[in-house]
Symmetry: C2
DNA sequence: ATAAAAATTTAGATTAATCTAAATATAAAT
DNA sequence: ATTTATATTTAGATTAATCTAAATTTTTAT
């Protein structure tokens, strides 16, 4: 049996591993989980012992295949619950994370499969992140940041990098949601701000916004 | 902050307290929670210290007002989730308990209030038990067991005493569900079996069944 | 009313997860 | 190539929840 704490460590290692780094180090995990490095060391030994991770003293840690499977299962649950909260219970997309953080640990295959079916097998969560299927497969749509987009082209909003309430509320206030069409009108060299057209309205957004909004070409 | 374990003890004490007994004793709790009496003693001290229970050594325990509030809150969550599982996710009524047992501990006021609204403020769970409202109020409909019903009268099925899969499956197989109308046709003195009419079909049920099916007069 | 049985509590250990402080290893800087 | 700084691990404690076994209290039976 896997404990809640173990699940949280596995998830953290998985996410940190996806940031391009191949081997995840102790301090990064401690930072992510708001705990102390010594606690992390203890847990890494335990995860290695249980076969969820490959861990070499002082060198860092990687998830085993089994560890990855567990991580993906948790992520699947987390994102399905997020969809449920937004679509059925009228949560706003900045309110779902904390609750989903708890719901993702409920263990019942039937629950998740039925939830998945009830939501009509969604492929992406309210932040645009892909939802793994039963077998753990998912494809990341190739997406770019608004800051890297090309002038004049037409895009569709597919996700956010920053998931803070502040940013998500900003987007709501400016009627930018998943699926919103965006045309890049002008890039201001002076401060990297960007003028875009959304819903036939023109607005200018800061570099900060442009660096946290994911788009795909349409 | 209240821990998961504390919540489970409080719920167990609440349910045991409802069985007519005024003061709940240690062994009953140990039995209900499948743990040892010594563990119960430790927890009772803790619950008393935290103000959730009144506990007198060797005498037994009672929930304080605050303890009762917590218990009712958990029961509200449990029963709302049961409704959700049956109505939205196609669980059968014998499959919901274990999952609801986990879901009931998720702490989010908004989650529960929205779920309640989404389910259209149900007043009873799939086993016929009443669902407390936000303020903890609920009314038990006066119900009797089939074994105590009167000959010739018309009743409606409103709940079950035994919630085992075996019993619930038996009811399903015999098309007896919540709301089903039942007329009592004959009581057999020899073995206390009872002949009833349901959905214009006549069947005979054992004493055991009759003692576990709750009805109300219509 | 006293002895026997049952229920309950205490004392002392154990396990999981955590922490602090000290020790050790690795990386960076001169 | 040392020294210094940073990262990581170890050693030893702590807390919550649990257990076993022994001690104590209450209840039941004679």
């Amino acid at each position: 049996m896997i404990t809640l704490t173990e699940e949280n460590y596995i998830k953290a290692i998985y996410h940190l591993g996806k940031q391009g780094v191949e081997t995840v180090n102790t301090n990064a995990i401690a930072e992510a989980l708001q705990t102390k490095a010594s606690s992390v060391t203890d847990m890494l030994k335990k995860l290695a012992e249980k076969g969820y991770a490959d861990y070499i003293k002082y060198q860092g840690v990687n998830l085993t295949l089994e560890g990855k499977k567990i991580a993906i299962g948790i992520i699947r649950k987390h994102r399905l619950w997020e969809v449920f909260l937004v679509e059925k219970l009228n949560f706003k997309w900045d309110e779902v994370h904390q609750v989903a953080e708890d719901l993702e640990h409920i263990k019942s295959e039937k629950l998740i499969d039925q939830l998945d079916a009830y939501l009509k097998h969604p492929t992406h969560d309210p932040h645009g992140d892909p939802i793994p299927d039963r077998d753990g497969n998912f494809k990341q749509i190739e997406k770019i940041l608004l800051s890297q987009a090309t002038l004049g082209k037409k895009y569709q909003c597919v996700g956010v990098k920053d998931t803070s309430s502040a940013f998500l509320n900003y987007l709501d206030a400016n009627t930018i949601a998943l699926g919103t069409e965006i045309v890049l009108l002008h890039k201001e060299p002076f401060d990297q701000s960007i003028k875009i057209k959304i819903n036939s309205r023109e607005i200018t957004v800061s570099q900060n916004v442009a660096k946290n909004l994911f788009l795909k070409t349409v």
